[in-house]
């Protein structure tokens, strides 16, 4: 090992020391990777890590079962490697970009005598441990299934393809980051990355939905992918080719795919060893000084509501964070691609009972209901969590802070979002009165979801540290929730669409439920607020 690492131009002792230290940190912290969290509880980190491993393991079993059910070997392989690509890509974009590009570690280690290539190699190892572990949890059950169903050769080929796929995705995104850092410069890098995440989430949501529609429309076991040369442009097919070749289907497209994957991996590995690793530390230094000299945006205007006390404090904080904290802003705006996508899909809806145009609103309803969950997560976890001491060291009433946060979310985000959705839908719905009624009903439902979330987990705003794999698992949870809601909402929306009276009845029931929930939340929050402690 020492020889191999040294041959790559990396200082073995330093690489080993850094890798061991960072892995130790990750295991102890479980998911955080942020200095300052409550790490004195030794059991917390390991159990959080095990929880995530269990979650991805269950997903892996699900994918394995899908492979077992599908008759078409190539289609099954394509689904597995697409899933690996998306999961690794999401992890790299949502959670692990900080590992590669954050100047935080540089502040601790930048003045130590670590050569750039060694520093880069240790960072890359840290990321690869995560992405390869993720790929193992998700892909190994499928590998086993391929072995059982299609022979040991196919099983072994799928194992090689699994790690090649995960490595390629990881290295490609790391190379992409480095290229981006060069192209846009350190001042704009964070902003560009965030917009990229937003665009990527559009593809992830869209891809997930498209695959589920595609598989759902055909009988599951008969799902097959018709061959086209265009498929070779999609990396998932390259890795599926490994299994086809191992199973004896030696065809030119599969061979071409395998060759493309080997060339891509080799090219990426060479790029990592050369220029990219040599100027890595220099780029981190530039990022560090760029963040030091960043100007603030102009201050927020005085709000018409939330004029004093805890409510005013939370309103000022949330507004400022939205304006100046890119991570928070993008976390909130992530709802937009989902909404637009669902709206586009739903546009092909039919007509209501009176013949008026009514698009399929079930999916948009889903987005509206998911929004409070996304908002609450963004409102709880923040890189600025250390500043939450202010809520604990002042005589602020924490239960009021939590309840104010909930109202601020409604006023600043949910209501404007409903107006935005309403404005978009106005182009597709003839009956605007019905549309207004529908917006009120889903708005009330959304508020109910927000209350339920607060009831389950009352948190002081921006008081929890962000987690390393938190974004990826959040996205997967949202996808699962979308699946569940997708089964229920079409019936509900169909029932509401048939009659304005039913809409009114639903609204009345929801108002009553909101009043009851609000009381429950108040009682729960008043009790829980006394137990909350400063986390940093």
């Amino acid at each position: 090992m020492r020889r191999l690492i040294t041959a790559l131009g990396v200082d073995y002792d330093q690489w080993r020391a850094l890798t061991v230290a960072w892995l130790k940190l990750d295991v102890r912290v479980g998911s955080a990777g942020v200095a300052g969290m409550d790490w004195s509880d030794r059991s917390k980190g390991a159990s959080a890590l095990l929880g995530r491993a269990f979650f991805y393991g269950v997903l892996g079993l699900f994918v394995g079962a899908l492979v077992f059910l599908l008759r078409d070997r190539f289609a099954a392989a394509l689904i597995v490697y697409s899933y690996i690509l998306v999961t690794v890509g999401t992890a790299m974009l949502m959670d692990l970009n900080g590992v590669i590009l954050s100047p935080t570690d540089y502040g601790v280690l930048g003045f130590r005598p670590i050569p750039s290539r060694t520093y880069f190699a240790a960072k890359l190892t840290n990321v690869l441990v995560y992405t390869l572990s993720l790929a193992s949890l998700i892909g190994l059950p499928s590998t086993l299934t391929f072995g059982i169903r299609h022979g040991i050769g196919a099983g072994l080929a799928s194992l090689v393809a699994l790690y090649a796929c995960a490595m390629t995705a990881t290295l490609a995104i790391v190379a992409g980051y480095a290229g981006l850092a060069r192209a846009v410069g350190p001042e704009r890098l964070r902003s560009v990355l965030s917009w990229l995440q937003l665009v990527f989430s559009f593809f992830v949501y869209g891809g997930y939905f498209a695959v589920s529609q595609l598989v759902g429309r055909s009988a599951l076991t008969n799902f097959a992918v018709p061959w086209s040369p265009w498929l070779l442009l999609y990396p998932g097919t390259w890795f599926a080719g490994y299994i086809e070749l191992a199973a004896g289907s030696v065809r030119a497209p599969h061979l071409a795919g395998v060759i493309a994957s080997v060339v891509a991996l080799a090219a990426l590995a060479i790029s990592m060893r050369d220029r990219l690793s040599l100027d890595y530390v220099e780029r981190l230094g530039a990022l560090m000084s760029a963040s030091a000299g960043k100007p603030a945006r102009r201050p927020a205007r005085r709000s018409w509501f939330f004029r004093s006390g805890e409510a005013r404090a939370v309103a000022v904080l949330v507004r400022s964070q939205f304006r100046n904290d890119l991570r928070f802003r993008m976390g909130v705006l992530a709802i937009l691609p989902l909404t637009l996508l669902y709206l586009l899909i739903g546009m092909s809806g039919g007509r209501g009972a009176d013949g008026a145009r009514v698009p399929d609103l079930a999916l948009v309803s889903m987005a509206v209901l998911l929004f409070p969950l996304m908002l609450k997560a963004q409102l709880a976890h923040s890189e600025a969590f250390r500043a939450a001491w202010i809520f604990f060291a002042t005589p602020a009433d924490r239960s009021r802070l939590i309840q104010s946060a909930q109202r601020v979310v409604v006023a600043f985000f949910i209501v404007p979002y409903l107006v935005f959705v309403g404005a978009l839908l106005a182009f597709f719905v003839d009956d605007l009165v019905w549309l207004a009624g529908w917006l009120v009903v889903v708005g009330l439902m959304s508020n109910l979801v927000l209350l339920a979330e607060t009831l389950v987990k009352p948190v002081v705003p921006f008081s929890l540290p962000p987690g390393k794999m938190e974004g990826t698992s959040k996205m997967i949870w949202i996808m699962i929730l979308v699946g569940v809601l997708g089964g229920v909402l079409p019936f509900l929306v169909g029932w509401l669409a048939s009659n304005p009276g039913k809409l009114g009845a639903a609204a009345a029931a929801l108002i009553a439920a909101s009043v009851i929930f609000a009381r429950l939340v108040r009682l729960r929050v008043e009790r829980a607020a006394t137990q909350l402690e400063y986390q940093a």
């Binding site: 020391a17 850094l18 230290a21 935080t104 130590r112 670590i114 530039a286 000084s289």
Partner: protein
């Protein structure tokens, strides 16, 4: 030694450091003073290789910070103003990491870690995670990490921050003895009494420019001030403290 020639650094339009000439000889402790935002941290960051200067040059222990940053980093010990630590590691684990990064021989590393932690009063806490450490304990770990590899040059940015009086006295004595052994020390602090007592020479900067250099006595006399504090106030354009305090109190009055 530390040597800079016309060292400058800008952040966009803002000039944080302008043409700084600085010299710290081996065996010398130079106090580096300036009000908040004067450019001290920028200078220190350039000298430690964390950021690059916009123009000018700097040498530390005979090596150019731009051309040979690794050689510089091998020879410096640095105590940052706001030290970041890996809180999930124990004090001993963090020092072991630092020792590995400096290629300290494992046997020596173990001996030095044990000794340093023991002498700094962290013997019992060496296997506790640093998340459980107090501010002073964390500062001691940072000081130990700066000394572990026996650096030729020490750059100390508020090294006594968080230390109790006894520990601060020990560290003060340690700094003096390291200088006697030939270590070049750049000492940044806002506590003027300490600077006056510890440092053989003082450099004052304000808004990126060097505004004074000499012994505490020389600076005091050149400004016609009774104390170093008064001279510092005049050099950096501070308003009368009595007026400033009165203005602050007035700001708290009800409208």
């Amino acid at each position: 030694m530390i040597l800079t020639e016309k060292l400058s650094r800008s952040y966009g339009e803002k000039k944080a450091l302008v043409d700084l000439d600085l010299r710290v000889e081996p065996g010398e402790i130079v106090g580096f003073l300036g009000p908040n935002g004067a450019g001290k941290s920028t200078t220190v960051r350039i000298l430690t290789g964390l950021i690059r200067p916009t123009s000018g040059r700097a040498w530390v222990a005979g090596y150019d910070v731009l051309e040979q940053p690794l050689e510089v980093k091998r020879r410096i010990g640095y105590v940052p103003e706001t030290p970041a630590l890996y809180d999930a590691l124990t004090g001993d684990e963090f020092l072991e990491l630092v020792a590995c990064l400096h290629h300290v021989d494992p046997a020596n590393s173990f001996f030095r870690r044990v000794e340093l932690l023991e002498r700094l009063g962290l013997g019992e806490a060496r296997d506790k995670r640093m998340a459980e450490y107090s501010k002073g304990m964390r500062q001691k770990v940072v000081i130990a990490a700066a000394l572990l590899h026996r650096p030729e040059v020490l750059i100390l940015d508020e090294p006594f921050d968080g230390l109790d009086a006894n520990s601060a006295a020990v560290v003060k004595e340690l700094i003096k003895r390291l200088a006697e052994q030939g270590c070049a020390i750049l000492f940044c602090s806002h506590i003027l009494e300490v600077v006056e007592r510890v440092c053989s020479r003082i450099v004052v900067i304000d808004r990126g420019h060097k505004v004074a250099e000499g012994t505490a006595e020389e600076i005091r006399l050149s400004m016609g001030a009774a104390t170093l504090e008064e001279a510092f106030g005049r050099l950096t354009g501070a308003e009368d403290v009595g007026v400033a305090a009165a203005d602050l109190l007035a700001a708290l009055d009800e409208v």
